[in-house]
Symmetry: D2
Subunit: 435 residues, 4 copies
């Protein structure tokens, strides 16, 4: 028999932070892992007057180029989705119809997908549970901490051994929402052929801090500074339910009511409440802030009684914070108001440019700005080391980043005894490798 | 009598490289110097679907906010323009109608202005000649080298002394096009009250290299590398007539014909030829490259016989190089073709983002890329030192840059015996100062 | 009478982070504030084989050039010291003998000074208490939080008004050791002529996090990671008693004993214990680790029962961590041991170089490295804004940093209505200004 | 027979720019290529008071760790040296005695080696000539342009094919001194197994400019600026004979006499003159400038009649420029004197720190500083592409740089169809690979 076993196709995310998509071919079957957007290019397109077609999105690198697996179409059994971030689910809208297979994912992720696109067959699998495609391929959704509920490392089980798809991952001992990373399960694995590893922070020599540190940072500012009479605006990632929960708690200590504003934020929260992941019933939620909104006018009159949590930390043109900075809404930013960026800046060109322009507008409003009040959702070098130590993969495939990040992941593996080209593999979008 | 003499209003360009505009008030008269665009914001707007109105341009910081001189309207006698770059003339289109006064500038600059906007009264004054507004205010256009023909330092002569408006300036001993900086005239000045100084490169410890160095660099690549059978695309600033002339000369040595493509490039060249500044009759010029252009199809068949000089070095969405990179034209970039960026990247966020995206597209085409084959048009620290030494201004006002640049200019002045706050002044857009 | 009131001499620290020294002349009297080392240059000299003379230290910029106040010698009444960091006290050893006046400072600072140099007259004044030089000059030591015990803002009271010497300062609501910044006192001041302001972090748009955040960060690593069987080495600033206290507490939770190693660390702790600021009796302290030390050999045998807190975070040649990295001591770093840098890297050239070399040595030992587990002791932009708002100084003099830092401080002041040159002043070492 | 053919040992230079050393094992024979110093660490040691022993140099990473080829000692037939730079020859002094074999190199390189160390057997081979070790191994020194005379790509010819050792290399069409790169010879090679490639500038998207550009830059400053009455000091790499020649020529045009000062510069020039590579008889040369030198005192009196070319561009403690900046010599730097750095700053920590400190000293002298008047001696991305295209190696081994540089080289190879791990290999110091 032919010695071929498993082929891995790096479709997207192997040259950038974004548009993650991988395909695993096992003998005569295959599954797809994630279908994400490259947010930087997607945002750039949104701002232009261009039709959002498959072709245009491809031409601008906003979605993964899945032509490289055209020859596998008849083999593909399903699309498995790791978690609900747009760089992992956002391209489903354009790519899904090209495959006549079910999507399999955790319940929260499924909710979010359904908000964005109609899917014919969507199979919900609880976190820490599994799904069987055939006698040759089955998957487990292993619970991990990340910056969105029900994130998972996907364990793809084949007769040749397991493949761990570890995008995205962090090991947080105090996750605020959800359970800790299922280390027990990870430790039990004894036949890991390959780890597809999250390289986002592989070059940071430390452990990524727990979400509880972000809460303490926010508390230090919100309770420690003189906010009397001033509005507090906080922006963070819409999907970051744990962060929202911390802000809600601190707002309460401060005697203020939390008001969440923005469509994507509304959607993520609504889904989390529906699945009883959190209960934000004390907070107000405004889905779409209108230019002639009585509600906003009222809120504006007693701004100092609220903490506003808004979309727009990346300076997106139509997000709430940009609208506020432009003065397009009845809710106003006034001198000395607090603007807290509880997020980093995604280091891609369009997003960096948008963010810089947003900050200059806020400066003109004479707002007080607090930047980077945030901890990452991605493991740093020392947590990645532990993941490798525990799972003992025979091969490592760095992903989720450009060459500097994947090279840092490779360097870590090398320090642990792996050898580049032999059992650590650096590939680019569109390339495949055989194990 | 009231001790007031002269007030300088920094309207634009005192916090950024762009939207230059200054107003000088002398007793009961005033003149405006330059009305420029902030290209970074202007480009961002162009790419969006926003009406290009005065209000929208203001809201996005694309033009200077001239509301700060509203109270002077009746005093203003004219708008004096230093040279033909868009960050000095581009806002005339929106601001000119707010003032019922003539524009006074050099012939080449006048040509370019008229290509962009209809001006009721446009007075042409030869370089190294003058114009008299009244018995109290007169101006001289002192010839300087820069990266566009007929650039000038404007000497504003008042009864209290001279004000030198030195944006933009370089001291090039081999300027390729036009004469050298008129040092004789500058040395003769003996009552300079104030120098408004070009801070763009004040933090670079050197002399800005002569344009002849750029020519040598281009020659080293174009004649020194194996270009047989390959197309050569060069992008540079549309207005850079000297650079165009160098490229034309090298193309000839190489036995290739030069083809200039792009609207703004066409306009700048046409004006230069009209005024007999250069003669590019050997070259082809294509104003607007169309998607169904027979001409381009023909050129494409024997690409290796041409050097194409195209717009788009800043990655602007509809410039020629971007269209080429997108494959939108019958002229094609093929693997191993030469793409020479004979320009720097203007260090502002939108432009940096656009450029980065453009480069990634070119990499996908497997083109050979040569970046930064360029010398600046702005004086560096040691030429600025000489300008100060020669003109002996009583006061210095750093302009044309953000705080890091203007602070570097101030530091240089300080090293030469000036004192911050006393005779070196750091102001921001919208502020004024009295001498 | 002559309109002269007060002259401020910026002797050191106005062009760098280091060698802080300022002189205030009030009519016919004067006082000196601080006499610090420029650590970067001092460290460079220590590593070379050069005599540590006044002349050599001056030639290398390691100490402030106090020649600029030679003409004031007979007027000087005392040397007032703000806190016990070497960039504020370290030059006393070489400069003190040039002045025949007492040193006045807080008790903890006095202890540390006496460990380094013999001082003829050292006057101890309790924090939040005062001292009177004459009917014209008196001082108050206003308690502030910083990264060393008994740090103060010095209020210099003159008949013309107060001068606040605010180097170094932070507003921490949970300081771990000592009391919070005395905001009550600062709010009561109503005639502040001048604030000499700490510009170290003026360009960081946020509030500097509380020391409690650093404790949580350390806890997250030390308790949250698998340390069993591994040694834990932590390096931090020797004087950072609060950090030491946090580490001690976490070590206890982990069931390990804390061992402090290094001469300067020993001195700072011994003084803190002597003054009953802390009680570290549970910990071991080793002043000078010897190459043939039985003690270290014993500790080495059961390294996993200890947390070692050592000097050397800046990569100094003879500090403990460098000796460990070089393998010069019986205590050994082994693969997988934890090295936690609970400090930043001071951004000066020699220190950055030393630190980088140290890290490479640690990598060769295959240690697990955790960097920047730290919060700063200097106020960021938003705390500085509050200090200005509360004290309402008529003038502001940015200090404690190079031009980029002091310009950021000036920009903040400008945003608050101050004007550069009028009531915000940027000076360089050796310059003076009159108010 | 065992399928083993050739093993390559990366001993030094695979993780840094410096201490280059590679060993090639072919069946039962082996040769060593280069034995260089890591200048950054070597300089750091020189400044400290440490014995320059093999052990100490190793401990500080100043020389390559050749322990990894201890088992090959009996197989090694010779040490082949590519060119006369210290990062390729500097470690011979400490490593040579460990091997009882001849050194084979070009005549100029041999001269320089003999100035530094006594070598028992030194075989001179003319550039573009060869040497035969045995029937199985022979070498050719293929002439290449670089920043020192008689630099070569070494072609190691074995029965299995050729190995091209391409450190250091540039393709300069106007090399000022010596002949152009021997492209004819390179094109003729038809069995290149492996290219060991110079990655120094692999991340720069361009062609490295010809040495003639550096000459034009120097001319632009020296002839284009007002130097009357001022001294001109130029520092450049001691070994850069072509640069020296250009400076000499420009000095002559300016009517000034060139004076070379400094020991290493003296040595490199003396050797070049001895071999008739250049004739600098018009210039003065001072080997060791003494503190009490009549000669220097005389030169100092009419400084404006000379151009002084001095050592010390990297800020080395005892180099001439540092001594001048410290005022340690009778030759003085006065305000407005010209200091031209005709060199880059090697991007390693100690050197960057030293250089920064030197610049600050020069600023205090109020000298006019011109930085980076230089072109590199290492090929950039597009020349490297050509070298690969011409020589068609089956495998590529990036060297001469840290991971970011070697990864850039690997990315270029990948773009050209090579595959990481298959025929592009990234190794670290101490590792080996088999082809």
């Amino acid at each position: 028999m032919f010695p071929f076993m498993i082929r891995i196709y790096g479709i997207g995310g192997y040259e950038e932070v974004g548009r993650n998509m991988t395909c695993i071919e096992v003998d005569d079957e295959a599954i797809i892992l994630d279908m994400g957007l490259y947010m930087d290019r997607f945002v750039a397109l949104q701002e232009k007057d261009i039709e959002m077609s498959y072709e245009n999105l491809l031409a601008e690198d906003a979605i993964p180029y899945d032509g490289v697996i055209n020859h596998l179409k008849n083999k593909i059994k399903g699309i498995v989705v790791s978690h609900a971030h747009l760089d992992h689910i956002g391209a489903i809208k354009w790519l899904y119809s090209r495959y006549n297979v079910p999507i399999i994912t955790t319940p929260y992720t499924a909710e979010i997908i359904e908000k964005n696109v109609k899917v014919k067959k969507l199979i919900r699998v609880n976190i820490n549970s599994g799904y069987k495609f055939s006698k040759n391929i089955a998957i487990d959704f292993i619970n991990v901490t990340h910056s969105v509920p029900q994130a998972s490392i996907i364990n793809v089980k084949t007769k040749y051994g397991s493949i761990l798809y570890g995008l995205d991952y962090k090991n947080d001992n105090h996750p605020i929402v959800g359970r800790k990373t299922n280390m027990k399960k990870l430790k039990e694995l004894d036949d890991v052929l390959l780890l597809i590893a999250d390289s986002t922070n592989a070059d940071e020599e430390k452990k990524t801090f727990s979400e509880i540190i972000a809460k303490e940072m926010l508390r230090d500012i919100m309770l420690g500074m003189e906010t009397d009479g001033k509005a507090i605006f906080i922006t963070t990632f819409s999907s970051h339910i744990a962060r929202h929960k911390s802000i809600l708690a601190i707002a309460k200590m401060l005697g203020r009511k939390a008001v969440f504003i923005g469509r994507s934020m509304y959607d993520y929260i609504e889904s989390a409440e529906k699945l009883k992941i959190v209960d934000f019933s004390e907070a107000e939620k405004i889905k779409i802030p209108k230019r002639s909104s009585k509600k906003l006018e009222e809120l504006n009159k007693k701004k100092n009684e609220y903490v506003f949590i808004v979309t727009g930390g990346m300076g997106e043109k139509n997000a709430v914070l940009t609208q506020l900075a432009d003065g397009r809404l009845p809710l106003k930013i006034e001198p000395q108001d607090f603007i807290i960026f509880s997020c980093n800046v995604i280091p891609t060109p369009t997003i960096q440019a948008n963010r810089k322009i947003l900050e200059q507008k806020l400066h003109r409003k004479k707002a007080r700005i607090f930047k980077d009040i945030h901890v990452s959702g991605h493991a740093a070098r020392e947590e990645l080391r532990d993941l490798i130590k525990i799972t003992q993969p025979r091969h490592i495939l760095p992903a989720h980043g450009s060459i500097d990040k994947t090279a840092a992941m490779a360097a870590l593996a090398h320090e642990m005894g792996y050898e580049l080209g032999k059992n650590v593999h650096l590939i680019q979008n569109g390339q495949s490798m055989v194990i």
